[in-house]
């Protein structure tokens, strides 16, 4: 077992017995057997079913609903409408903090986007409620919908993403371009995309007086709880949310969504437990999506192929009633060493549900454009795309000039390229064919994602029987929190993983922060780590201060915790088990809390990002234009790898999503009505098994003493970035046709 050297780790902890092990998911058997209880699997006694009626227009007003017809349908219990609903404690239009998004909870009959909830039918069965919703036969006053990236006057939003400045610059981009020996200008478009988690948003709500029990998938237990508390005017401790498993979230389950609030309202209205589950097509509206973008890149280089300027402008859309701006251009702030860089954004308002974070928000959209443009620039310079990237390797973060806390990107390039066989690539496009005459193309992209940290708290305990406990309201979205965080917990208290009772997934546990921004393992892990250290310190106090203990006088830092024992650092033959220490002290358990949080000083000093390099091979039928990805290699450096098995799965998933971005995913919006015409998994294409080639993931060793106590950077999102561009660049290399509108369609290659 390797000894791990941790900077801010208290000296008595030894790591490595659990962290770093490729454990399979501890919840895997439950899931395979169908015993893992997802929100919609709950059926409290007396439960009724709620079904939303949603708007079929994108803009206007509901003028009538046939409530009588619905109510007459046998089994319908009630119909919730703007005229008949329980009151809320605050206006849902009020943004009480920047992480509160406006939602439609029947506050008016205005329609702001297609698939907006306009009524809720509550009935004894799902089938009855479903038919009740049809019988409402809504009528509308329809206004022309605002659709697409040119829908109206553009404006410059105040911020993009989460409070990022809309514009950034360093150096003089125009001067840099004027000076350039070579330059390119290109416009790329990315479509609206929907999270499409396998598990739809669902809620089972049960009121008991003014107490509320909620089963719902959430990536943010405490944020959801706070939102419910303010909307219904009840105290936090009256609400209990259970979210042990999510069938994916990808950002769409970070905040309490309107439909989930409607479920709580419905339960209040009928005074019975209510279940509300979104239909697949209802997920294309009220629960967020990735906004479309149009991105213009202008790049210049000197005679040697060194960047002189990089200008990245992104147009995006937000809803007509709230603000979220896909920070696509920000991708250009951190990756390539240009003396002059500008990133900027503008937007138009359209009739859609408000866009939201979706796996690698900004990074994914920005990356496919930037990586394509870098590829175009490399070709314009006649330089191999990898050599070009190395020539413009950023030794410090270009936009800020800060050093990186760690950056093993060079190793990623090297190891990825070697595994892929990149050196055999022809510089010219359309030069490679396989035995059956198919065009072969090789492309690459650089991956990057910021290493973020949020705030979290955890509670640790060591018990008289020598076992440990760790409690944290963490979220398992399928990424494997039940396993990875338990591994960290086990090391934190110096026990084998099976001797630690690990609790997560409910709102009565300490706040683990939001499971987003690829920061959950780092944030929750840091809290667990510190809670473990604190509880061990308490235990050590009991022992080292007691003259009956073999550890007496060793001092708090003079012991290490391992395998359920405290051991004298200077004399390993002297040790005592946790059980012995507690028994002698006559204490049932020792308990302590710990926190995880960003370190502002380190953030001030360092730029913190994970990196990677993705290489893709595609084959294209020269006449028919059909594309197939045949190989992908991704090499990623993301700090400490807590569980290589789970990390690979995350990176595989990201790479597949990247390929999906380049070749498949698109919400097809009717240009007139603003409605999405493929709101189902048959027609909203994502890759199927037959599309996914052998994937090869290399995790490149990277030691980062600055990001957090455990040196974890996060791997949830980075896999998409780089991959999408790599596939797009491979298509160009195969065909010589540069497609700048994504997903790449067959017709573009037929020209």
């Amino acid at each position: 077992m390797p000894e791990l050297n941790l900077t801010s780790a208290p000296a008595h902890l030894r790591h490595g017995s659990n962290i770093g092990q490729p454990l399979t998911r501890r919840d895997g058997i439950l899931k395979v057997r169908g015993q893992a209880t997802y929100a919609a699997d709950n059926h409290p006694p007396g439960m009724l079913f709620a079904v939303m009626a949603v708007s079929s227009i994108a803009r206007g007003r509901v003028t009538s609903l046939d409530v009588t017809a619905a109510k007459c349908h046998p089994g319908v219990v009630d119909v919730m409408t703007p005229d008949h609903k329980p009151p809320l404690a605050i206006d849902p239009e009020i943004k009480t903090n920047p992480f509160v998004f406006r939602m439609e909870v029947l506050q008016s009959n205005e329609v702001r986007y297609a698939n907006q909830p306009i009524a809720v039918v509550i009935a004894e069965t799902l089938e009855v409620a479903t038919e009740g919703a049809v019988l409402l036969a809504p009528r509308y006053e329809t206004l022309p919908a605002l659709v697409g990236l040119d829908a109206g006057e553009s404006f410059v939003p105040p911020v993009v993403g989460v409070g990022n400045p809309t514009e950034n610059h360093r150096g003089d981009v125009e001067a840099g371009l004027a000076l350039a020996e070579k330059h390119i200008e290109a416009v790329y478009e990315t479509p609206p995309q929907y999270h499409n988690a396998m598990e739809p948003h669902a809620i089972v709500a049960a009121w008991d007086g003014d107490s509320l029990q909620l089963d719902m998938p959430t990536q943010g237990l405490m944020l959801s709880l706070a939102r419910v508390a303010e909307l219904f005017g009840i105290a936090h401790d009256k609400i209990h949310i259970r979210s042990p498993f999510l069938g994916g979230g990808f950002g769409s389950k970070g905040f309490m969504a309107g439909p989930q609030v409607l479920g709580v309202m419905a339960a209040k209205l009928v005074r019975k437990p209510v279940k509300l589950v979104l239909r697949r097509e209802q997920m294309y509206g009220p629960v967020g999506h990735r906004a479309p973008t149009r991105q213009r890149l202008r790049i210049g280089t000197d005679g040697e192929g060194r960047l002189t300027a990089l200008d990245h402008h992104a147009r995006t859309v937000s809803s007509t009633f709230d603000d979220f701006y896909e920070p696509a251009a920000d991708a250009s702030r951190t990756l390539y060493a240009a003396p002059a860089i500008r990133t900027s954004h503008d937007a138009v308002r359209v009739n859609t549900g408000t866009p939201l974070f979706m796996r690698a928000p900004g990074e994914a959209t920005g990356s496919i454009a930037l990586e394509s443009a870098i590829d175009e620039m490399a070709w314009a310079c006649g330089i191999d795309p990898l050599a070009f990237r190395l020539k413009n390797y950023a030794e410090v973060e270009p936009m800020t000039g800060k050093p990186f806390s760690s950056k093993a990107l060079r190793a990623c390039y090297e190891q990825g390229a070697a595994r892929f066989g990149w050196s055999k690539r022809s510089l010219q496009p359309r030069r490679m064919r396989d035995d059956s005459g198919l065009l072969v193309g090789w492309g690459m992209g650089t991956a990057t994602f910021p290493a973020l940290m949020f705030q979290a708290e955890a509670r640790a305990a060591i018990r008289r029987d020598g076992r440990g406990a760790m409690e944290i309201g963490a979220h398992d979205m399928g990424q494997g929190a039940w396993t990875a965080l338990a591994q960290i917990a086990a090391d934190a208290v110096g026990l084998d993983i099976d001797r630690v009772e690990f609790k997560a997934g409910t709102s009565d546990l300490p706040d683990a922060g939001i499971a987003g921004g690829s920061a959950h393992t780092a944030t929750a892990g840091a809290a667990i780590h510190s809670a473990g250290a604190a509880v061990i310190a308490k235990l050590a106090d009991l022992a080292t201060g007691d003259e009956r203990s073999p550890l007496f006088g060793a001092g708090n830092a003079g012991v290490i915790a391992r395998d359920g024992r405290l051991i004298r650092r200077d004399d390993e033959s002297r040790s005592e088990s946790y059980a012995e220490i507690l028994a002698r002290a006559g204490v049932a358990e020792v308990e302590a809390r710990g926190t995880g949080a960003p370190n502002p000083a380190a953030m001030e000093e360092y730029a913190m990002h994970a990196h990677g390099a993705v290489f893709a091979e595609v084959k294209v039928d020269p006449e028919l234009g059909q594309i197939r990805v045949t190989r992908m290699v991704g090499a990623f450096a993301a700090g400490r790898i807590v569980n290589p098995h789970l990390v690979k799965s995350q990176l595989f998933g990201g790479m597949i999503w990247g390929m999906s971005f380049a070749l498949h995913e698109e919400a097809i919006t009717d240009r007139r009505s603003g409605r999405i015409m493929n709101a189902n998994l048959g027609e909203y294409h994502i890759p199927v098994n037959a599309d996914v080639p052998p994937l090869d993931v290399i995790t490149v060793e990277e030691h980062d003493p600055h990001v957090n106590a455990l040196g974890i950077k996060g791997v949830g999102e980075i896999g998409i970035t780089g991959s999408a561009g790599a596939v797009a660049n491979a298509v160009w290399h195969a065909t010589g046709v540069r497609v700048r509108r994504f997903p790449i369609r067959i017709e573009e290659l037929l020209k």
Binding site: I57, T130, S436, M677, V688, D691, L750
Partner: protein
């Protein structure tokens, strides 16, 4: 869901009687019908479940050398029947390129023939659609229509028929056996599906209550087994409808094509038999030039119905390729990716 009657007849006669009343619909595996019901596109009053009918699940070799396939045979069972796959490889390949393994296990022969169009506006009850609601209009025109028809469409409807199975069947001259209120009759598959004209609400030549009991392949259909391929271009490798597809079947004797069969999928409201192209191919050597000529003939009447002009060019190329593949010979084993351009088992395409 709207309440409906559900009946489960045991015999064909009972089924036809049960379906006589207005609002009654046959239910086979339901892979299409149930989706339509869930979306409110179909709102039948009565479902007549066919899955317990006796005697419709057999694949029978007929005395005259033809083959009779019961309407309830599943798509998967048919495709994997070794004798069938050997005699009609192009049909097996088309079947295996459709939907997903799970759907093929369920979907039936009759249901596949009568599946409805995938036009998104047809599925979306808030859109105007002449096929769903006669006379209401067609929102696909001027909408998102890059996958719509390029042949045989009318101002009233530009939808396509999505079946893969039907494409080689129509090429091989399949016959449909129908049981109706006036007894048994049969029609050529080519006459089953209707072009939209002024009445796009009528998909097929069937009358209300008509039951498909079997599909028959005539004796001659067996003669193409050595040179028959299905090729399907789609937007992902599996689980996607054809953008354009083609079935090509040739009889080659002494270096010349003695008979050719060609049909296109994804281009019209019916599987499109390209007889003019077949004529070009008869009696000549299988050369690239002839295939080009056939491709032009097959699409002479094609015109875009929206943002889909590319489908015409694509269809021509697919015809050429399908003919080239067919001429090269049916592979001994079903390709791992049936009907895919990536299924190529020889290096012959770009000699």
């Amino acid at each position: 869901m709207k309440p409906f009657d559900y009946v489960r007849p045991a015999t064909v006669a009972e089924a036809v009687a049960a379906a006589a009343q207005p609002g009654a619909t046959y239910l086979a595996a339901g892979t299409n019908l149930l989706d339509l019901m869930k979306g409110g596109v179909s709102r039948p009053d009565r479902l007549v479940d066919l899955t317990h009918l006796e005697g419709l699940d057999a694949i029978e070799r007929l005395a005259d050398g033809g083959l009779r396939i019961g309407a309830l045979v599943s798509n998967a069972d048919l495709a994997h029947d070794p004798e069938f796959a050997k005699s009609y490889p192009v049909v097996a390949e088309a079947l295996l390129s459709g939907a997903s393994a799970q759907l093929r296990n369920a979907a039936t022969v009759g249901g596949n023939l009568l599946q409805r169009t995938r036009c998104a506006y047809f599925y979306d009850t808030a859109s105007r659609c002449n096929k769903r609601d006669a006379g209401s209009g067609c929102d696909a025109r001027g909408g998102e229509n890059r996958t719509h028809a390029v042949l045989g469409w009318s101002e009233n409807c530009i939808a396509t028929h999505p079946s893969d199975f039907c494409v080689p069947l129509v090429a091989l001259g399949a016959i449909v056996e129908i049981e109706g209120k006036n007894g048994r009759r049969e029609i050529a598959l080519d006459e089953l599906h209707r072009l939209p004209g002024d009445t796009p609400e009528r998909d097929s030549a069937l009358e209300h209550g008509d039951l498909i009991v079997a599909v028959r392949l005539p004796p001659a259909a067996r003669g193409f087994a050595a040179h028959a391929r299905y090729l399907k271009v789609r937007e992902r490798t599996s689980y996607a409808f054809a953008m354009v597809s083609a079935a090509a079947a040739l009889r080659i004797e002494n270096g010349k094509i003695s008979e050719a069969r060609l049909a296109l999928g994804g281009v019209a409201a019916k599987p499109w038999r390209a007889r003019a192209a077949e004529d070009v191919l008869r009696g000549v050597a299988p050369t690239a030039d002839v295939f080009q000529e056939a491709a032009w003939r097959a699409l002479t009447d094609a015109k875009p119905s929206g943002d889909n002009a590319f489908k015409i060019a694509l269809a021509r190329r697919i015809v050429v390729r399908a003919l080239t593949l067919a001429a090269a010979g049916t592979p001994a084993r079903m390709p791992a990716l049936p009907a895919s351009p990536f299924a190529s088992t020889s290096g012959a395409i770009h000699a």
